[in-house]
């Protein structure tokens, strides 16, 4: 199989380039893309990429594989390899630190903006803040996000305005706290989202939905936020 990997070492390379490597893949096994990277690293230890849990939980190995973002560790070859060729690039739209490792600062700055924590000034009860099963259910499909950045880096609105548009990952978290019955800061949260960029730069193209390795739907969450903003203002 031919594997084409994006390589860039700012200390030695003038510009990024694609390195083509012919790789012997063990027969009869449907390896994950992360396994392929591990095989490549045995050949060339200078290849840099992030990985940790190797089971789709930590969100470290977000990559662009044959043009589509996903987690290398849970994406089988059979799903992405086309015509015996695999092209691996870093997540698009973020600055590359080295090879497949990107600088996630902009992504985290947008995440930070939505205040991704419970805001409740009431004195904490002795045991815990209770929530009805129905209210708890409202958080399903929101809290599971692992912040791998596959969605935001597949979003053209985030590519063009990464410092202004919060992006699908940040917005699904924003709605996770807007929808939480225990949170008391809904008004302030919405006031911070009402500008023309933070939420409304979403044009609903749903790349985020198509790439999310956890099967979440950020576009739907953004729709809910938009409805809250419209209700608040009409």
């Amino acid at each position: 199989m031919l594997v084409s990997v994006y390589r860039y070492n700012p200390e030695t390379d003038n510009a990024p380039y694609m390195q083509d490597i012919e790789l012997e893949v063990p027969a009869g096994k449907d390896l994950m893309v992360l396994d392929i990277l591990n095989l490549l690293k045995e050949k060339d230890p200078s290849l840099a990429y992030r990985r940790s849990c190797r089971e789709g939980v930590c969100g470290s190995d977000g990559l662009n594989m044959n043009g589509k973002n996903g987690l290398g560790c849970i994406t089988p070859m059979s799903e992405v390899v086309k015509k015996d060729k695999l092209v691996i690039r870093p997540l698009p739209g973020l600055p590359v630190i080295r090879d497949l490792v990107v600088d996630m600062t902009l992504f985290y700055q947008q995440y930070e903006k939505v205040q991704p924590y419970l805001i409740n000034d009431q004195p904490a009860p002795a045991i815990e803040r209770l929530q009805s099963p129905e209210d708890r259910e409202k958080l399903d499909g929101l809290y599971e996000c692992i912040l791998c950045a596959c969605c935001s880096t597949s979003c053209p609105s985030f590519w063009w305005n990464p410092e202004k548009f919060i992006g699908p990952a940040g917005l699904i978290q924003a709605y996770r706290f807007l929808a939480d019955s225990r949170d008391q800061a809904q008004a302030e949260r919405l006031a911070n989202l009402d500008d023309p960029f933070s939420v409304f730069r979403c044009r609903g193209i749903m790349n985020c939905v198509s790439v999310c390795p956890k099967g979440l739907n950020p576009t739907k969450a953004i729709g809910h936020i938009r409805n809250l903003l419209l209700q608040r203002a009409t």
Partner: protein, 115 residues
């Protein structure tokens, strides 16, 4: 912290969003009406003139014209903020779009009520 912006139509994203939707409905209605008129009326100078002679149609036309201006401003503002990164050219293009929008609306009023 909310992102600040002073060149979009309203100060809020929700406002721009609402304007874009409402004006879209007005433009769709106007387009459908004109299509129907062209299909089911024998169009000549007399019938066309009679249509534009009626006050309700002049009001409808002006509403469509203003909707077009607002709709185009929200849309083109979005396109320029996506694709034109340098402030000076972006502001210049936005100023040109705004001027065109204003000229069309005033010119339209003149056409509709000038004679």
């Amino acid at each position: 912290m909310a992102v600040s912006s002073i060149t979009n139509l309203g100060r809020s994203g929700a406002y721009d969003w609402m304007v874009q939707r409402v004006t879209a409905y007005v433009l769709a209605l106007y387009t459908l009406f004109l299509l129907g008129f062209l299909l089911f009326t024998d169009v000549d100078y007399a019938s066309w003139g009679a249509l534009f002679h009626q006050t309700w149609f002049r009001i409808f036309s002006l509403m469509a014209l203003i909707s077009m201006g607002a709709h185009a401003w929200v849309g083109l503002w979005t396109v320029t903020t996506d694709y034109v990164k340098a402030t000076a050219p972006r502001f210049l293009i936005q100023a040109l779009c705004g001027t065109a929008m204003f000229v069309y609306v005033v010119w339209g009023v003149q056409i509709l009520w000038g004679h």
